[in-house]
Amino acid sequence: MLNELTDLVRSAQDGDEEAFRLLFRELQPGLLRYLTVLVGADAEDVASEAWLQIARDLNNFAGGPGFRAWATRVARNRALDHLRHQRRRPTVPVPVEALSELPATEDTAESASEGLGTDTAVALIATLPRTEAEAVLLRTVIGLDAESTARVLGKRPGAVRTAAHRGLRRLARILAQDERGDPARNGEAPTIGPLAGVRSGGDVEAGRGRR
């Protein structure tokens, strides 16, 4: 799998368009979900800027196994540039609707097999303080190990591990809260339940972390 990616990168560097297409398919979903957490609705735009740069700088990449991290760093830098230009808090448009869907999907019979939707899951992760959200996403959705994640975020591996663990604990608490008598579960007040409260709290924190 890793070797496969390395081979694809080499082919793409040699000008192979199909290899580049496969790289895109492999990386884009994760990047898009990660960018959604960073820049909200602008994720698509930022992702296409990132791919513009990836295509342009592809031959500057030295090769080897680090391509996933390299591409992620490109995307992250584009996102940070974007935020700097926008000079406003990123808005994550998904959570409110997503959270209202959360109880609904769990009420249905197929929820046992289908479980949470991807958007809902990403939206929940987006409620974490930014460092925690990034650590969790890079390690799971993008699929980097702790060391690569640390390099992308410019932190030490230990700090990144701690952030990811803290994020998971926070998520566990959110989900546990949701299970205990949340009125929103019955579809009464989707945005007023405990989840919504936790969400806005996390959002404030994440927003503050950006200034």
Partner: protein, 302 residues
């Protein structure tokens, strides 16, 4: 069992690592089950890293177009010879052209020869110019050459082709220079393409105005100050609402023209890393402040 333990908020580090690795599809090497569907956090992580959905790959063609443009630009800037021939063949097809691919192939002995200027380079310049417009057009509707609203800043009806890494450096050099491989009448560049390509780049003042526009805060600040964007920007971007996006893209694309030519592969990445580290440091600081319960900052009141 870790599943039970983090229900109480006490997810231990090992269990957390297992969850993270499992969601990433990595072998934990511990013999533990990779996924526990009954664990809500594991379920959440699995959902978040589910396989691609069709909508998520909508940008594929645009990305490929960017790849083609970049490839053509690389070739123009001195790509490898076999690559160039392949490129020329693919693009030129059977069409009769002053620079037939066969003429190029005839001198391809010596394998990976670098050409900065020459027939191959000229083919690539032309290709880059042709493809670059299309690439950007997919991003900015207002740049679509077919869009009647558009007018180029200084060349009448001609759509400004965005500055690719290819056009700027190569075009200023006379095509008939002594650096052309071994010469030959068939290798002469199509004479009409040079001036057209040059006109095709946006007027220099667009760059400056874009920088100024973005520096003073873009559309929001203009709206607040009740200020109209300059005519040049309006024309270049196509419409008022497109200016910010146009400028960001224009300046983002233009950067490599200056920095990328150094041919030191590691530098851009290193610079990015440093910038990155600084930003992360800043974020960490503010995160810490946030977690310590620092009261809200004045900046957020507006």
């Amino acid at each position: 069992m870790w599943m039970a333990s983090h229900r109480r908020g006490g997810l231990d580090p090992d269990a957390a690592e297992r969850l993270l690795d499992a969601a990433a599809g990595r072998d934990t090497g511990t013999g533990q089950p990779h996924r526990d569907p009954s664990d809500p956090v594991a379920e959440l992580l699995t959902a978040a890293s589910a396989p691609a959905r069709a909508a998520e790959l909508a940008g594929e063609e645009a990305a490929l177009q960017a790849f083609r443009t970049a490839r053509a630009a690389r070739l123009a800037a001195g790509g490898t010879y076999p690559e160039m021939v392949r490129e020329a063949r693919a693009k030129a097809g059977g069409a009769a052209s002053p620079t037939t691919p066969d003429a190029v192939t005839g001198r391809s002995r010596g394998g990976r020869r670098r050409l900065t200027v020459g027939a191959g380079g000229w083919i690539a310049v032309v290709l880059a110019t042709l493809t670059a417009g299309a690439a950007l057009a997919t991003d900015i509707p207002a740049l679509d050459p077919a869009d009647p609203r558009r007018g180029a800043p200084d060349s009448g009806s001609r759509t400004p082709v965005p500055p690719t890494t290819a056009t700027a450096p190569t075009i200023t050099t006379p095509p008939t220079g002594t650096t052309a491989p071994t010469g030959g009448p068939t290798a002469a560049p199509p004479p009409n393409h040079s001036p057209r390509s040059r006109q095709a780049t946006p007027h220099p003042s667009v760059y400056g105005q874009c920088r100024a526009y973005l520096a003073r805060g873009g559309a929001d600040s203009d709206a607040r100050a009740n200020r109209s964007p300059s005519k040049v920007l309006l024309e270049a971007a196509g419409s008022r609402s497109e200016i910010e996006r146009y400028c960001r893209l224009l300046l983002a694309i233009d950067k490599p023209n200056h920095s990328n030519k150094s041919r030191k592969p590691d530098e851009p990445e290193k610079a990015a890393e440093e910038k990155n580290a600084a930003e992360a440091e800043h974020a960490a600081e503010t995160d810490r402040a946030a977690e310590n319960g620092t009261p809200d900052r004045s900046g957020r009141s507006g």
